[in-house]
């Protein structure tokens, strides 16, 4: 699994309230989440993340279990999320909806630099520099490759 795109750089400890605020949760309409993704951090991000790879600081996605956070990122067109460490529920949720998340020791970067990753080969490249990606468990790998837990389930039952 591979991906490439310009970087959108976020700080550390980005919590799920910042990714999608509680006030937008009372709907099943995914476009609402995409439209308001990262709004409290910067209202222009919802537009800018399309086709981009998020490079975040440590503890990406901490806070609540709300799956709307990862769905919002995916629906907004985020190609993947790279961070030195993730909150565990966010990480699990991302894999479950088929959003590539890559744990790698990436330093803070600037918006727009080129980011690419190759999960099979186990690396991520930020601004020309390559970093090792932490491997996924066999189960997580299979779920991500299937496109998420729903398609994985459908093909295994």
């Amino acid at each position: 699994m591979q991906g490439v795109g310009p970087a959108i750089c976020l700080g550390r400890d980005i919590d799920t309230d910042q990714i999608i605020a509680g006030r937008y949760l009372r709907t099943k309409d995914r476009s609402v989440w995409a439209e308001h993704v990262l709004e409290d951090l910067d209202p222009t991000l919802a537009e800018r993340v399309r086709g981009a790879i998020i490079v975040a600081g440590r503890n990406m996605g901490c806070g609540s279990s709300r799956e709307q956070a990862v769905v919002a990122l995916r629906e907004a067109g985020v190609v993947g999320v790279v961070a030195p460490s993730f909150a565990r529920i966010f990480f699990r949720n991302a894999i479950n909806i088929g959003l590539p998340v890559i744990e790698a020791p990436v330093p803070p970067c600037t918006d727009g630099v080129r980011v690419s990753f190759d999960l099979d080969a186990g690396w991520v490249e930020v601004d020309g520099k390559r970093y090792p990606a932490r491997p996924l468990s066999a189960k997580m790998n299979a779920i991500l490759r299937a496109g998420g837990l729903v398609p994985y389930w459908r093909s295994h039952r």
Partner: protein
Amino acid sequence: MSTLSERILDAPAGTYVDREVDLAFAHDGTGILAREALREMGVERLAHPERLRLIFDHIVPANTGMAATLQAELREYARTTGVALSDAGGGICHQVLSEGVVRPGTIVAGADSHSCTLGALGAFATGMGATDMAAIWASGATWFRVPETIAVCLSGRLSGAADPKDVALTYAAKLGMEGATYRALEFVGDGVADISMDGRLTLCNMAVETGAKTGLFYADGVTLRHLADHGVAASPQAPEECRYEQEIDIDLSDIVPLVAVPHRVDTVCEAEEVAGTHIDQVFVGTCTNGRYDDLFRFAEIVRGRRVAVRTLVIPASRAVLARAIATGILADIVDAGCMVATPGCGPCLGAHAGVLGEGEVCLSTANRNFKNRMGVGGEIYLSSAVTAAASALAGEIAVPEVA
């Protein structure tokens, strides 16, 4: 020799295991998403409906037509599948399930990050997302990575105004917001025996604020008495010698009232250092501190006096509310000028019932003070219900004094 997590999951730390889940629950927020995922998965029959619970707590009673419609759909789903539903007013999922549902030694999965709360009963309880929950509802099982464990060693006794919440803020400050990521926190040591079940639930509740997968107490006399009060018989769990990845020591006799200042739970200071800080609202409630102990300690301080700032008290469950009525402390709270609302999460997630306006400051007994969490532009300080009581009377952050 194993940690409690290793014992319950029956595998050594670091391994991945597939396990049957003894209890799996979702609330009105995540339940809708799980329902959607089940539809997409094409699942019609649930593996073990008797092990599942739906609990309406996040937005109760519904504040908009949309919320009401989604809840109606979920209510109907519970009816047709036979999943037990705790409807609006029953209380917050973690509290409701602590009242005689969760048992020591079981595996519990909740579609809510604070599901770690239930580890206070000696269970392995952890939070997941809605799609994971759907898969559990469909199959009865899920995968876990058995966590390494950090021991939080408690010694001494709390005294005066010090509260289990202050202990939770102490370990949050020591570990930091990601200090325990992928780990379990095990609360051990001589100090444990003195901590009530309400206090233990508070301590386990905040484990996730350090990134932990769960927090656990071994079932002991306190646990068994608590369960017996709810008509449940259980056996104690004896700690074994085991290898912890890290140990942190907390002497309970050193604990004083603390406050977490905006916008991080690990930026903690003594209440004294922020005394005099302006506040617009005090909120006592949530799955962290909306229990009977909290309401009791709050009432002890405000009884016979008047709060000087808008103060909202939300019992964590109907059982807590009923007990507060029966013992008379609810009347004390109301007489002191506080608002009382339906058991549930209330304004904790910024959706309804006490949301903050731009620039407003709240002292809350919750577990999270993320920016904008209780409303855009609002600031949140976190404390115990004891500190909240003193501050409500003073109209500003104040240091509580308890003999």
